[in-house]
Amino acid sequence: MTRAIQSIGAIGLSMLAGAVPARAQSVDYQAMEQLFGEPVTTSVTGKPQRAAEAPANIEIITQDDIRRSGATTIPDVLAFVTGVDVRTYGLGAQDVGIRGYNQASNPRIMVLINGRQVYMVDYGRIVWESLPVQLTEIRQIEVVKGPNSALYGFNAAGGVINIITYDPLKEQVNLASLGGGTQDFLTGSAVGTAKIGDTAGLRLSAGGFNAQDFAPGPLNKTDVLTRQSPFDGNFNADGRWQITPRIEAILEGSYGTSRESHPTPATYFDTEQIHQWSLRVGVNADTPIGILSLSAYRNQVGLDAYLINPFTLKPVNGYEQQTVTAVEVSDLLKIGTDHTVRGGLEFRQNADQSSQVGGRLADADYAASLMWDWQITPAVTATNAVRIDHDEVSFSGTPATVAGLTATTFNSAHIDAPSLNSGVVWKATDADTFRFTLARGVQLPTLAQQGLQILPGTSGPVGYFGNPDLLPSITWNAEIDYDRSLPAISSVLRTALFLQRTDDVIASFFAGPLTILRDGVAYRLADNVGYTTAEGFEIGIKGHSGSGWRWNLSYALAETTNHTGLDAGGVILSGQLYAHSVPEHVVVAGIGYTFEKYEADLMARWQSSFLDVRSPPTPGPLVLVSVDNYVTLNARIAYRVIDNVTVALVAQQLNAPSLITTGGAPQERRLIASVTARF
């Protein structure tokens, strides 16, 4: 398949090379960033805009930030972003949450690579290590905090993380990197860009890692049985063709395989080996009626799972085939001098075929969206966006009649849900910006929440079932931001105050509040259970000097309350704790210095205590774990040996050989040395 993609790409490149001169026509991130002197984003409204002018709280992490962090995974980079919570269970096994919500297999954030959504359809989770992108080919990571469902739909109820890679038509990235360190960690990656004429570009990348994660000592019995050494390897191809000066075509493909041990929503560790591939085609055309965009892609995941039945401690093997098929069309049009509108239509199908759902379960989602951006005065802009999702469930297989489920139950299930994003940005002065936003985010039930079928006796005496009649979970978010540039110290101060409420919280089948007896059988059913709230405050300053110094300091408060009844009676059924399940207080600080051939950075994160759950060492209910407050200190020093070769030494968790950071096994200090050559 990969060879086929390469061949097709090569033929296409050859045909188009030299036809017309390449030039900016849709969104040229590099040219716009250089022109305006600051990063540009399309993640908030779909239209290109300066991050400071976007009607949402957005943080942009640049390639320089990524490199200087010394991170080996994207969550390691995100861990030092204000308002972002990262749980690390092991090498590459991580969950990312935004503003007060995080849990094992967190479904509340939307992650995209160049606009392609990369969630797993079973739990709406992100398997970070399987993402087919090398850190060195990322131009920027855009983190939108708060719901952004009116643009992206479900899963964007907590926030959006948009990964933007370099444009092979306009940016040349050619490098190879090798690294190794403690935990037998070995990693390598290579990125190459070929430009054919002025009109076509192709970037190829490949990379991966292999490691021996934990010594068996600190693991409990179920973890020892399931946890195996993680690895990852993936390949990505990204081609762009300037067919005419106003039309650009995109062809992307990826393949990867990885193995990681990660807790399920029930917190039991599940070792999965994933084989994934994706193919995306797209066209952008700058026309008299706006920028017309078409994007169609398919993600396919074959998943071999190896988990331990917590009630019998016997291994269970599973196999799933998951697919996402999406077609998106949009038109982005500037009307007159003050109005920009974007209309979009989307079809998306998520499908899961496995014994766990008793056959094939699919969601077909039809969505229409409209965004209107109005420059009311030179200083005031108002943006409103709405989206309607119509979701239909379909099922073919053998329903578990023991839980009252029939094919008709599934096939008649549907959801209609509106999303909303509104914002006013007021640039009071060149230095002062105020932002007022209101959002209604929608989190649709995942396929597992709708249709999982674990019969009684399979995983203990109780059966666990999804619920096709689940309602979507709705998150309302109100926020006031104030940013001030401080040119005297080359810094920007950013503050945010937010209030959030999530209704109809979806409890997983493991946490369903009712144990119902039907025909003498006990089972739990996924259900909508009450509401949660979150409120918080963020303040941070970031700057740099002309002499090579850079610094950042921030504080984030996120307090959540739980009105779901999930923890009633003190019985812990799942990782859905909500209240106190992420640290309320987080301080992030960093300082760095570049001098001639040296680059040195030190980053620290302190977080207060929080509650997590873990699987017990013997069959029984989950155990509540209090994770004490802790500090993580990361350091990186790099030296440019010759013009195009750099060596670097990275220490992660430099301050402690071992830290308890989740309810799982302690995390160990890591030392990594690497060499990078650029061509």
Binding site: A31, Q49, Q375, D430
Partner: protein, 166 residues
Amino acid sequence: MLTALAAFRPCGGHAASFAVKDLQVLGRAIAFLQSPPGSDAVIAIAYVPGDAASRRDAEDILALIGAGLQAGRVTLRPRLVDINNLSAAGATIVIAAAGAAGPRLSEATRATHALCVTTDTEAVRAGFCTMSITTEPLVKILINHAVAEAAGVEFVTAFRMMIKEM
């Protein structure tokens, strides 16, 4: 580096209406024209004949650009042009030196389908010039849509969304 360049002014005790940073922004902005220049962009620096201050400002801008100024993917190639000879100059991008942005320049750029660029925002608001550039403390670009349309000057849609239009 850019800051240091921006501070550079030609000797003579007066400041040119354009700084190097303004010219850098100009060079990057014209890459977003629907019909952009090639790697070498001929820039006419228009001055008012008989106006010593205007001529001096034009010469100062010329000195800043020198033989050529690299700005992004474009190298600016300057040429001093009497405002009355713009039609003959054949340039599609015109920098308005001090005092040049007025009805005559507006008429000339419209007739030659040229993009008129100034650092004087009021000249754009008055309809004498197409685009103004300010770079301190932030890069700001203002385009008079009616003037651009009359001259047949068109920018790509994404760029129009990034700047202010009137």
